[in-house]
């Protein structure tokens, strides 16, 4: 009984810190409809700032907490809102997720620069104090955590329900323009929300690191907040009381799992996957999203190139690789081949995110399935790579099927949950066929020719990229492509035409995963050795960020994205510049959702774009769904990227 009580107390304490983190997430989402992927990274950086003040600068603990929670964190939140969030506030879920991903990656990078890896110890609050109930000792730190969670919840609830500012913050979600007509200041409301959300993240971060004294870690604290995603989802991202219950249940599940589950291999991994499984279950319990009738979201895409232009671009790319092989050093040829493998991975996002508008944060998991298949079979035959693509496609179907009912953000979160489950239960788990450290791989043999040299491999990867890219373009130009675009722009209009969205959706997930798996198989052959760390969920965040910034709606964008991802991995010294480019591009997404290639395509007269045959056709300023929308566009002429009213 005492053991049970001990774990219950522990669960409540863990749940309390999740609740604080989750309530910050709920606050920013409920008031600005932007899901802050960087919430955990904010918690992590603020915990580091706390460490800096309290342990490096020698300020008192309490003063440091006050400075961080009521000074640094809200200032950071408000500035973030002012300079980043406000610019993308009206953009789609794809853009807002990518922008907050950019913030996350930037914060992790900044923390690593400012506080290089080393000893960052944090002690408990009220160390040595506590109370004993029965046989169980509850530390002062535990009591503080629970007390603060209850206080934060009560204050937030009261603020949102009973103060005029709180009500105005919720009103801003319904209709910003109308709030302004009431005399409210929508921007100020969202700045306050982000400041408060950031404070709560800071408080959660400090409590989490002091509860389990140990190393402050860049990634683990950033990802620990996936737990708070799960809790927030229990309250459907809007209800604070249900969020608190969700956090408590999750905390208890975690505690009981560490107390009662077997410690044999397999179960340990299962324990790590509990928050992700909880998140997935919460998402699957969501009610069916209603089709929104009467609203048509026009998203400008890039014009699909003519096949003649595709042929020219293919020739240009192959020629560029041949020239690269001739002039680059061996190490750089290897990097070029790596970039091309990543480009295939990036290409997998084009039909999924670019055409269909589904945001996936599990692409590295599909990439990993392809690589794992090649590594496990120890084969150099192309059939191993194709088998990897097939298995990845099956995994894609596995993701698509349960989440058929989910839209937008919820779908993206379900891919996060899937990727985390893959990480802990498959890739890191040798008993379930995972890597178990790292595995040796073979170079590919094709019709008796072995692609042993990096130069040959680079040409192989470029050729595969071109073939898959051409297939993607052909599909986009055909009936299937039109269905995908139409489904993205107006599911309601498609439903009235009698289209079944399910099949198209499962197919695009399977196809996208297959492309990623194919890339993974090639990657495994190139690297000679692969391990679970190569395919961690965390990698999918910069991937999505880079590909969307480079241009997720075009094959050229995927090529640029792959190369940028390679550069980020291979040239640490250039990271700062790359992040700068990405940050600018990410914020620019509000204006140009086709990313850097979108900007390039817009420069019609750009000589390079014209000569390489990568476009120069200009951005097609059309709204594809108009052709399927059952109604006429009324009122103002439709501006690109703006919502258009449709007579229902």
């Amino acid at each position: 009984m005492n053991v049970f009580f001990t774990y219950t107390v522990l669960g409540c304490v863990i749940g309390a810190s999740y609740a604080i983190a989750a309530s910050g997430l709920v606050l920013t989402y409920a008031t600005t409809r932007i899901f802050n992927v960087a919430h955990g990274a904010t918690a992590m950086v603020m915990a580091f700032v706390y460490w800096e003040l309290a342990y490096n600068q020698g300020l008192s603990n309490w003063l440091s907490v006050l400075i961080v929670v009521f000074g640094v964190a809200p200032l950071f939140g408000a500035l973030l809102e002012r300079w980043v969030i406000r610019r993308v506030a009206d953009a789609g879920i794809g853009v807002t997720l990518v922008v907050t991903c950019a913030v996350l990656v930037g914060l992790v990078g900044a923390a690593e620069k400012v506080w290089p890896p080393g000893v960052h110890q944090v002690r408990q609050f009220f160390a040595g104090h506590g109370v004993v109930i029965g046989m169980v000792r509850i530390t002062g730190n535990d009591l503080l955590t629970v007390g603060l969670a209850v206080a934060a919840g009560a204050v937030l609830y009261g603020f949102l329900a009973f103060t005029r500012t709180g009500v105005a913050m919720r009103a801003a979600v319904d209709d910003k323009e109308l709030l302004a007509l009431h005399g409210g200041r929508p921007h100020r409301m969202s700045a306050i929300a982000w400041a408060m959300g950031s404070s709560l993240a800071a408080l959660a971060g400090i409590l989490l690191v002091s509860a389990q004294p140990g190393q402050l870690n860049y990634i683990s604290l950033t990802l620990l907040v996936v737990n708070s995603y799960a809790a927030a989802m229990a309250g459907r991202l809007t209800s604070l009381p249900r969020t608190f219950i969700g956090a408590l249940v999750l905390g208890l599940l975690n505690a009981y799992a560490s107390g009662y589950l077997w410690t044999s291999p397999g179960w340990t991994e299962f324990r790590e996957a509990i928050p992700a499984i909880f998140l997935l279950s919460m998402l699957l319990l969501m009610p069916q999203a209603q089709l929104r009738v009467g609203r048509l979201t026009g998203v400008p895409g890039v014009r699909t190139p003519e096949m003649r232009r595709v042929g020219m671009a293919t020739a240009a790319l192959l020629l560029a690789v041949v020239i690269g092989n001739a002039v680059l050093s061996n190490a750089n040829v290897n990097r070029m081949a790596l970039g091309l493998c990543f480009a295939i991975l990036a290409l997998s996002l084009v039909p999924l995110t670019g055409f269909s508008g589904y945001v996936s944060l599990a692409q590295f998991s599909f990439f990993g399935v392809g690589a794992l298949t090649v590594a496990k079979t120890h084969s150099s035959a192309p059939t191993a790579v194709l088998a990897g693509a097939l298995l990845a496609a099956l995994a894609g179907i596995l993701v698509a099927l349960p989440s058929l009912r989910l839209q937008g953000l919820y779908l993206a979160l379900s891919t996060i949950a899937f990727a985390q489950i893959m990480d802990s239960m498959v890739f890191q788990n040798p008993s379930l066929g995972g890597f178990g450290g790292s595995l040796k791989t073979e170079r590919l043999d094709l019709l008796g020719y072995r692609f042993a040299s990096d130069k040959a491999y680079a040409i192989l990867a470029a050729a595969v990229f071109c073939v898959v890219g051409a297939v993607v373009i052909v599909l986009r130009k055909g009936r299937y492509g039109r269905i995908l675009i139409a489904l993205r722009d107006s599911p309601a209009a498609c439903a009235t035409l009698g289209l079944n969205p399910r099949l198209a959706r499962v197919a695009v997930f399977a196809g996208s995963a297959a492309i990623a798996g194919l890339g993974g198989g090639l990657y495994a052959g190139l690297q000679n050795q692969v391990g679970s760390a190569d395919f961690q969920f965390f990698n999918s965040l910069p991937l999505l960020l880079i590909v969307v910034c480079a241009g997720v709606t075009s094959v050229s964008g995927a090529l640029l994205g792959g190369m940028l991802l390679m550069a980020l991995n291979s040239y640490p010294s250039a990271q700062a510049y790359l992040f700068l480019i990405l940050a600018v591009a990410a914020v620019g997404l509000g204006k140009q959702p086709n990313g850097i290639t979108g900007w390039l395509f817009e420069m019609r007269e750009h000589p390079l774009a014209g000569r390489l045959g990568f476009g120069s056709a200009g951005v097609a300023r059309t709204i594809a769904a108009r052709s399927v929308a059952s109604g006429t566009v009324v009122g103002a002429p439709v501006a690109v990227g703006e919502n258009a009213e449709v007579e229902a």
Binding site: R170, D174, E177, L178, A180, H182, G183, A636, P637, A639
Partner: protein
Amino acid sequence: MAPILELQDVHAAYGRIEVLHGVDLAVPRGAVVALLGPNGAGKSTLLKVCSGRLRATSGHVHLGGSHVNDAAPDALARAGLCTIPEGRGIFPNLTVAENLRLSGLAGQASAAEIYETAFARFPRLAERYDQLAGSLSGGEQQMLAMARALVTDPAVLLVDELSMGLAPLIVRQLYEVLAQIAERGVTVVAVEQFADTALAVADFAAVMTQGRIVAFDEPGVVRRDLAELYLGGATV
């Protein structure tokens, strides 16, 4: 008397497409002006420019003597301009009471004063106090929107298509409230497609076609010439 709201040669556009092609309008202080015109004439766009939601590409907008071309909608609201936009100016996910409380953002009224004024005129809203505004009937939603005009006591009230999608009886009630608000000295500009309802309470009527004001006169005169004004300006 100097007009409280004045537009001089106002042009406005959505993207590259110009919708207002030089609008001149002077609204006398304390008057009720019905702004009439066929679909697509630019009436709602004109209200958008007046309320700061769309910036004029050229021309001048004056409110109470100040040049307000670049003023933000919230600043204009706090300066005494109340706008009830097309399609119910309410927040559907807030309760009736919360909607009413937000009316206080533009003025000095406390929550209690707001409830008292609003519920005295619209007892139906008192019954729906805790209900989400989105779940009210169309007429009740428009009452809630009108309640804001009632409690904020603005200098100028802009109303867009008050009658849209409502039963004639409800429309008549709402126009009675509009007339009451006007009696207090509030200047009202009401955009309306159904001319008769608006002309009944108006001191002046303006007719818009194709992005221009083609007539501004007494209601009786406008009523007489309405058919010709509509058809004369329209291209078939």
